[in-house]
C-alpha cells in the first residue's frame, strides 16, 4: 500500500466534477479531505497509475498532481486528522 496526495485545480465552473470526487473517495474507501483541493488516500496504485485513472474525469485545462507521501510530515491539524495519517501504511 502507498499513501497518495491528490491535488487539483478545476477550472471549468460549469462542469460537474462529482465523478472525480467519487473516483478519489471510492478508490479504496480510505480518504482524508481536510483541505479544499487536496485529498490523501491509501492506494495500491502508484502515483502515475492513479493520476492516469483520474484523467477521464478532468479536462485539459485543469491541473492535477498526485504525489506519493513518505512517513515524514508535520503541520497543524485536528487530532482526528493526525490519527488518520499516523495509522496509514506508507
Amino acid at each position: 500500500m502507498s499513501v497518495l496526495l491528490v491535488s487539483y485545480a478545476l477550472r471549468n465552473n460549469t462542469k460537474d466534477y462529482s465523478p472525480l470526487y467519487d473516483a478519489i473517495k471510492n478508490h479504496t474507501g480510505l480518504w482524508f479531505h481536510y483541505f479544499e483541493n487536496i485529498w490523501i488516500i491509501e492506494s495500491t496504485l502508484t502515483a502515475d497509475a492513479f493520476a492516469k485513472s483520474l484523467y477521464p474525469f478532468i479536462e485539459t485545462t485543469d491541473h492535477l498532481l498526485v504525489i506519493r507521501l513518505q512517513k515524514e510530515y508535520q503541520g497543524w491539524l485536528p487530532k482526528e486528522a493526525w490519527e488518520w495519517l499516523n495509522n496509514r501504511q506508507y
Binding site: 480518504w31 479531505h33 481536510y34 512517513k71 510530515y73 485536528p78 488518520w84 495519517l85
Partner: protein, 132 residues
C-alpha cells in the same frame, strides 16, 4: 404612518407576483401555474364572451387546479422531498465531504476544531551536531 404600504407599493407588489422569477422547485412551479390559472379564470369572467364559454373556461381552470392539487397530494404523501427538490437541494446533496472516511465533518466544523501539531508520528528530534 410608519410601515404602512403606499398605494404604489401595493401595486408594484401585486405586479411582482407576475414577474418572471425563476422557478426552482416543482412546488413553486405548481404555485406559479395555479396563480396563472386563477388570473386567467378571473379575467375570463369579465371578458366579452358568451356565458357558456365563461363557464367552460372556469370549469377547465378549476379542473386543472384540482389535478395539480391531486398531483401534489400524491407526491406529498409518498415523496414530499421531491416537491421542494431544486438546485439548492441538489448542491447540498452533492456537497463535498470533509474529514476522513472514519468521520465526515462539515468545513465549518473542521474550522471550529482546535488544531495541534502531530505528536505521534515523528520520532523525537535528534540532536544535530555542527560539523567542526
Amino acid at each position: 404612518m410608519p410601515g404602512e404600504m403606499s398605494f404604489w407599493d401595493q401595486i408594484t407588489r401585486v405586479i411582482s407576483l407576475f414577474a418572471s422569477q425563476e422557478v426552482k422547485t416543482p412546488l413553486s412551479f405548481v404555485f406559479r401555474v395555479s396563480l396563472y390559472l386563477a388570473v386567467f379564470a378571473a379575467l375570463a369572467l369579465f371578458a366579452p364572451i358568451t356565458q357558456p364559454f365563461k363557464v367552460g373556461i372556469a370549469v377547465c381552470a378549476g379542473s386543472l387546479v384540482f389535478l395539480l392539487v391531486a398531483f401534489v397530494a400524491v407526491f406529498g404523501w409518498f415523496k414530499p422531498t421531491n416537491l421542494v427538490y431544486g438546485e439548492a437541494g441538489h448542491r447540498a446533496e452533492r456537497r463535498l465531504e470533509f474529514g476522513t472516511n472514519r468521520r465526515s465533518q462539515s468545513i465549518v466544523e473542521i474550522e471550529a476544531t482546535k488544531s495541534e501539531s502531530n505528536k505521534g508520528q515523528l520520532p523525537p528530534p535528534e540532536k544535530i551536531e555542527d560539523d567542526v
